[in-house]
């Protein structure tokens, strides 16, 4: 509780200090609030708005719209926000294909884009932009964490699997980048597939001693339940997307013991995180997910920049963002040259805590990991 008060006081002090410089900042949040992927967008929004509420800064105004997970709608919303709402900053997109449709056009018009999740390789390398900041990660990071840790977890012959679409291919590439063992099976499944009996039979026959999967959303729920029931019983590892707070409840005990690469966890030991987890749970009645943590960090980054520079002065505001002078719930946080975070990556394990399932950190996979496409970014 004391930590909460200290942080609130600190936030209030920041606000007061910044008041002299303050130029109102208008933020447009485009995220997924309906349809199949709505839980991710809801967490992003709730995390972001929690930080906004805590800062209580009258100079910050947020417009929120639902993209329905459709790129065309995301583009229309971005146009509307830029032209009629006159926003200065855009944020909130969950999916990489939507980010690709919105981000390049928005940054070309001189707007800032702060990513709360999606950070595709195309925007991390050749397509990087000084006005584009990824607060979450670069898309490959969590897969790299799983790959780097797999050998430590005793997985020397891995069976790896992802859906057959660009992010799925990036995922397996990311896993293999730092994986030291042997890959004994590599399978691409249909996007949206719900039955994995065929793949599980292949895993059983492959001679693997561990399985890496990237199956976001409902696909992961289906796979993990079927995998647990099949009795194959080999260790399972994946990125946090497949085993996050909102998803593991639907997997039930099938998910216990599953390892997942992440850059944040509810038990990460720092004051900002303790405050975040406590206030988020109190406000919304559920534990936060990684998406909520990215939303929360993004809002706090924005508030820290507002305290240092006026958004009217784009160069100064950009420099203020780049300093990343805020208390991240991840503890350590800095931007690399391409505006992607340089951060520690962890491996978490799904555990039962009373009635609910959650994640606990079991080890550090990589320290100060940045963006694999750094070299291609010229800016």
């Amino acid at each position: 509780m004391n930590a909460t008060k200290t942080l609130l006081a600190a936030a209030a002090a920041l606000v007061t200090a910044g008041a002299a410089l303050a130029e109102p900042v208008k933020v447009g949040m485009i995220t997924t609030l309906s349809g199949g992927g709505a839980s991710l967008g809801l967490d992003t929004r709730d995390g972001f708005m929690l930080a906004v509420k805590q800062a209580n800064n009258p100079d910050l105004e947020v417009v929120i719209e639902d993209d329905q997970r459709k790129p065309d709608i995301a583009v229309q919303l971005a146009d509307k926000m830029i032209q009629s709402d006159k926003v200065d900053v855009l944020t909130g997109i969950v999916w990489s294909n939507l980010a690709m449709a919105v981000v390049p056009a928005a940054t070309a018009q001189g707007k800032f884009y702060l990513s709360t999740n999606a950070a595709p390789s195309a925007l991390a390398g050749k397509g990087c932009n000084p006005n584009y900041f990824s607060v979450s990660y670069q898309n490959d990071n969590l897969h790299e964490a799983a790959g780097a840790y797999a050998a430590t977890a005793g997985i020397t012959k891995a069976f790896i699997m992802a859906p057959n679409y660009p992010a799925g291919k990036d995922s397996l590439t990311g896993f293999k980048r730092f994986y030291e063992g042997e890959v004994v099976g590599e399978v691409y499944t249909k996007l949206g597939q719900t039955d994995y009996a065929g793949e599980i039979a292949q895993i059983r026959a492959s001679g693997a001693d561990g399985v890496f999967i990237f199956l976001p959303g409902g696909m992961g729920i289906s796979f993990v339940k079927q995998y647990a029931d099949s009795g194959v019983g080999l260790p399972l590892i994946g990125p946090a997307f497949s085993f996050d707070q909102s998803i593991i409840q639907a997997m039930g005990d099938s998910a216990l013991g599953v390892l997942n690469g992440a850059n944040w966890s509810p038990d990460l030991d720092n004051a900002a995180n303790a405050t975040f987890v406590e206030t988020f749970s109190a406000e919304y009645g559920r534990l936060p997910s990684v998406y909520a943590s990215y939303g929360y960090d993004t809002a706090n980054l924005l508030l820290s920049a507002m305290a240092k520079a006026s958004v009217a002065d784009a160069d100064a505001f950009r420099a203020a963002l780049k300093e990343a002078d805020f208390d991240s719930v991840r503890g350590k946080f800095a931007f690399g040259p391409s505006n992607h975070p340089v951060q520690d990556l962890y491996v978490r394990e799904v555990v039962r805590d009373g009635d609910i399932l959650t994640n606990r950190i079991v080890g550090t996979a990589m320290e100060d990991r940045g963006n694999a496409y750094e070299g291609e970014c010229k800016m």
């Binding site: 309906s34 349809g35 199949g36 709505a38 839980s39 809801l42 057959n164 291919k169 590599e186 399978v187 691409y188 499944t189 249909k190 949206g192 719900t194 039955d195 009996a197 065929g198 793949e199 039979a201 292949q202 059983r204 026959a205 959303g217 409902g218 696909m219 992961g220 729920i221 289906s222 339940k225 079927q226 029931d229 099949s230 009795g231 909102s246 998803i247 409840q249 639907a250 997997m251 039930g252 005990d253 099938s254």
Partner: protein, 305 residues
């Protein structure tokens, strides 16, 4: 690749097929008897899964959940038939597609409103959890074997219902000539409601049974609906026998294709290209099968041309 793996994959294909049959049976009955294209059939599948998950969570019993799923889907089907579908029989197919598409949106957002955006938890009943060893040393999940059994039992029950009962006679008569059986004094609108509720109950049963294996979430019915349409087109619209054969054909083709094609490409391509191309082709395979069957038999396997 061993014979055992092949047998296990064939069982997987069969299990997938019989679950598709439960969906396709209702769809083909409704289309055959009433001439109605019902896009909202997938929503009834979702209703079954949510009813089962909700009741199982409240009571702790999967079997009560299963009973609830049948009741909820049949009730939802009957209500929808009485309020909306009934007005569509005389309209053309485009109107039916539009109206039933609207029903999908109503069901999806209604379910979200009731249950929230987060996927629900529904697990396999403890008595059926885990694998058993089949003759020949194949380890196979017991629950999937039970699904095959239930699916085949329902198929047998449907054949008996259509072939040997008074209701079945009326259904067949309704398919052949609906004006004539109305003229003979059969209450055609009541028959339609019963057939629609029966189809809905089968979809709800499939949703609940499959829901224990997968994620119970809003929108779960639509991917299955597309496959169910493929099944009834392959089998011949209106034919229960066609739906059964078509469903098992689609289940086996899809499962074996996903497994054999990447392996086949692997014999002459590097592994990562082989898996990628194989997976892409495997996902097209059932549509290729459908096209091939339509070329040979334009009415489907058991359909009237």
């Amino acid at each position: 690749m061993s014979a055992m793996l092949l047998i296990e994959q064939a069982l997987n294909g069969l299990q997938y097929g019989v679950m598709l049959f439960l969906m396709a049976a209702g769809l083909t009955l409704v289309f055959g008897v009433m001439g109605l294209i019902n896009l909202a059939h997938g929503s009834l599948y979702m209703v079954g899964a949510f009813a089962c998950a909700g009741v199982a969570a409240a009571t702790g019993s999967f079997w009560l959940g299963l009973a609830a799923s049948l009741a909820a889907a049949a009730a939802a089907g009957a209500i929808v038939e009485l309020t909306v579908i009934r007005r569509l029989y005389a309209r053309d197919h485009l109107d039916q597609v539009l109206a039933t598409f609207a029903l999908i949106l109503v069901f999806s957002e209604g379910t979200r409103w009731l249950f929230g955006s987060f996927p629900l938890y529904l697990d396999i009943p403890a008595a059926l959890a885990g694998p058993i060893t089949l003759p020949g040393g194949i380890e196979y999940p017991l629950y999937r074997l039970v699904l095959i059994g239930i699916g085949l039992a329902v198929a047998a029950g449907l054949f008996w219902l259509i072939g040997a009962t008074r209701l079945g006679v009326r259904i067949r008569a309704g398919e052949a000539d609906r004006e004539m059986i109305a003229a003979l004094g059969v209450d055609i609108s009541r028959l339609y409601t019963i057939v629609f509720a029966l189809g809905a109950a089968l979809a709800g049963l499939a949703g609940a049974l499959v829901g224990a294996l997968q994620s119970v979430q809003v929108g779960m019915g639509e991917p299955v609906l597309i496959l169910a349409f493929v099944v009834i087109v392959i089998g011949g619209i209106g034919s229960i026998k066609g739906a059964l054969v078509g469903a098992i054909l689609v289940g086996l083709t899809d499962t074996l294709g996903r497994f054999l094609l990447p392996a086949a490409f692997g014999t002459f391509l590097p592994p990562s290209e082989a898996t990628s191309i194989g997976a892409a082709l495997a996902s097209m395979l059932i549509y290729i099968l459908m096209a091939a069957i339509l070329v040979i038999r334009p009415g489907g396997l058991y359909g009237r041309v």
